[in-house]
Amino acid sequence: MKNMNFQVNLQGVIDLLSNHLYSEPGVFIRELLQNSVDAVTARKRLGHTFDETVKVEIFSSHTISFSDNGCGLTEEEIEQFLARIGGSAKRENQDSADDFIGQFGVGLLSCFVVSEEIVLITRSAYDGAEPLEWRGKPDGTYSIKKLKRQVPVGTTVYVKAKPEFEEYCEYYRVSELLEKYGQYLPTPVMLIEDKYERKINESKPPWLMDKPEAMAYVEGIAYHKPLDIIPLTSIIGGVHGIAHVLPYAVSLQDEKKHRVYLKNMLLSDRMTNILPPWAFFVNGIINTSSLRPTASREAFQENDLFFAVRDELGECIKRYLMELAGRDAELFRRLVLIHYASIKTMAVEDDELYALFIRHLRFETSYGELTMAEILRDHRLIYVTTTLDEYRQVARVARAQELLVVNGGYVHDLDLVRKVTEIDEDVTVDILNTLEFANQFEELDLEDKLTVQPFIDQGDALLDGFQCRCLVRWFEPADIPVLYNTNQDVNFFKLAEESEQQANKLFADVVHVIRSDLYDMPYAKLCFNYNNPMVRKAMETNDPQLRKASIELFYTQALLLGNHPMGAAELRMMNDSLLQFMNRGLDGAEVAR
């Protein structure tokens, strides 16, 4: 038996890593910057004292160089780290806390996205080390030679832009990228072109700023003044940061864009998940020392630590909100007003926040728009509907009955209202069953009941085909002649009926079983208001034709008003009944004339 090694197509691997791992060509600046900073860190570890600096120089013919006075590399180290993909000098123990930013050993390859060749000149910080020149090409070949001339300790990398990538070696672009990635690095980064020299990193990082500074900073980068600044810290994640509260409402569907730094170097300016998903009313600017980036270095590995840190940051935002409610009621009110949707989502997910916010949230009720505090002040029994349509069916009548009905049809409202018993034990919350709603109204006395019974029987017979039953009650307001209630199963039932008619034998049977064994036939209810003069009039007539036409007209009007889709038979019914009245009325007019 012979043990063999896999053969790797080097060019393919380099192409894969350099062209497909990263989201944009500019990241090579980040990778080079990072190597430089790591080299400086390594040299400091050796106990050397020196003026640490990273110099980026722009040359004509679209070439740039990155020089640092870090630890440099020996020939052995070059063999080991530069020429072996995945062999990083910084990876002895992946899980130990460290000062390095990198760890994968693929960073330098990102230069091949913009350049056909990487030239690296280095002298190791170890005594007596010789200066070396390493040249690598994307086809996987490289050469090393010893240099005759003397060079200082450190490393310089030269990159010459390929056609089409020239802009990445021009002053304005390099300057922009250096600032983006490196403006908060502790090591001074100098950008040089000809005689002009500029220090890239001079500003104080936002996570070390006090609140007025941070407010001004955010205003400067985002062109809006944040509502407030929330300090963020996570001890286990070594995180310091700020979250600025957005002064405008954001859609729940928007991707979050948090800016995240790893050891002061920008990792990503559009990270979506470093803060909990409910926190979409803030944008974060965060620096961490211990979360692990993925190989592309544009996101974090989502391990347990990551989620623990995220929870801890969420706690910071929660604590802030709780404290704000006591400290600055006006700001708290504004925050609730602007970030209404976000706050509802938070309150559903988290019990503490629920208790904090619920009284301030507004709901659509039969008494108009009310905050939960107002609802709880005046009512002990709360009804809530599960859909907007159900709410619309009953809202007006409920008000006249002095019933408080909350519209639970909007996102989260149902859950929010149901949970209210957790903060107020004496209140009762019930889901309103619209079909039984009419049963609460006042019944007629026996005499009246007997009088209207033929009318009701006729109605039942007429509307049976539409799965609708009739009843009579006395209720306010008087100007509503009939109340038509369905629940959502009615629509499903019509759908099931359609399916059973259309389906093949096999599935017709299946649907039949669902319809008859899993569901009870839901009847819609048409409740006539004995308090309404039109209804009285219709019930008093002895002419069965007229009664029929009135019932049909009441029924179809109720459908129209309730936004219920009308079938062909119902449409015909409406026209026929209207025509009857017109005939009577117009013919009568003729007679009178």
Partner: protein
């Protein structure tokens, strides 16, 4: 009416999974049936399938599917064959979960699906896959094993579940066949985060809980529980929520209460099905532990969900399944579940003491 349809459609996009979304889609279907083209009605129903499955109303999906299948058969050129077969695959994965369907009905549906697969030139892989799950639910391990063999032998084609779902299903089969270590191996890529989709890894977490405890990998079980608590949300995971309701009943009662309060509404709304049965069984185990002590805190729906009511519901569901299956396998199934609970109590409560 078209504008009403558009308005409903707009609102359906922002609604979370659940009954409200279904109500909106049902109204859209009714409008499309009456006032729009057959194609509109068909496509609205296709959207309704996923919404119904995600709302935990599988019977509604089957109902709407029946209509679409009929339309497809009437004019096969007008609609996508792959699409209708894709959802047909869902149907054969769901239909046995309702004890109201007779074995003959279920067999006939499986047979029809198989016939169509062969006629349209699809691999029988999904057929054998779904069938093995169905057979396992009846406790027919040998027949399921034969199916499993066919399943693994059949080729993957566009009708097959995605890689993550299949890997999860393989794990499910192996766990049910008591091949725990092989099962864990099968789902390892999922737990490592290398395979995922819309419903994976959420569905996998509940699969591995029993095996992990049987293998005495308690730490891993705790870690999975933590992840599951974070990710599993919504009515479509009723059975899965039950698994973690049990787990937290033993390891972290306040969390169990949170899960119970969030899910019991879905449980009560669900129709008599395999999911409802499993979920209520978990609720029963939870409530038994809960009532061991006098407590001030009130649970959601405590008027309806009592131990007596649960006993009655569970017995009637178990009987319905047994009667349908012509066996008494459900009794073994319940006993197994109780054994698992004891195993958990032993592993965690004793350790804590």
């Amino acid at each position: 009416m078209k504008s009403r349809y558009d308005e409903l459609r707009r609102s359906s996009w922002s609604l979370p999974d659940g009954k409200q979304k279904l109500a909106v889609l049902e109204e859209m279907i009714r409008i499309a049936d009456r006032y729009m083209t057959e194609e509109d009605a068909y496509n609205t129903r296709i959207r309704y399938f996923a919404a119904a499955a995600e709302a935990g109303s599988q019977e509604r999906m089957i109902t709407a599917f029946a209509w679409c299948l009929a339309k497809y058969d009437q004019s096969p050129g007008a609609y996508s064959q792959h699409e209708i077969m894709w959802y047909y695959k869902w149907v054969i994965g769901m239909i046995w979960r309702f004890p109201v369907f007779t074995l003959e009905q279920i067999e006939a549906v499986f047979e029809d699906f198989k016939r169509r697969c062969m006629e349209y030139g699809y691999s029988l892989r999904p057929y054998y896959h779904k069938r093995s799950v169905y057979l396992l639910s009846r406790g027919l391990t040998q027949e399921a094993a034969a199916c499993y063999k066919h399943w693994r032998g059949a080729s993957r084609d566009p009708l097959a579940d995605c890689q993550a779902c299949e890997q999860n299903a393989i794990g499910h089969y192996l766990f049910s066949a008591n091949q725990l270590k092989r099962g864990m191996q099968a789902v390892k890529p999922i737990l490592d985060g290398k395979l995922s989709c819309r419903s994976i890894p959420q569905a996998t977490y509940s699969e591995v809980m029993v095996p992990l405890l049987k293998l005495k990998q308690h730490e891993e079980a705790v870690a999975v529980g933590r992840k599951a608590f974070r990710t599993i949300k919504g009515p479509q995971y009723l059975e899965e929520q039950g698994v973690f309701l049990e787990f937290f009943t033993v390891t972290d009662l306040p969390r169990a209460v949170k899960i119970y309060n969030e899910t019991i509404r879905y449980g009560l709304e669900s129709k008599p099905s395999w999911e409802r049965f499993n979920y209520l069984l978990s609720v029963q185990l939870f409530l038994k532990e809960w009532h061991r002590k006098k407590r001030r805190k009130r649970l959601a729906e405590d008027g309806r969900v009592t131990l007596g009511w649960l006993e009655q519901e569970i017995t009637s569901l178990a009987n319905a399944f047994n009667q349908r299956n012509g066996s008494d396998y459900m009794l073994t199934y319940i006993a197994d579940k109780e054994k698992h609970m004891h195993r958990m109590i032993e592993a965690f409560q004793l350790r804590a003491e």
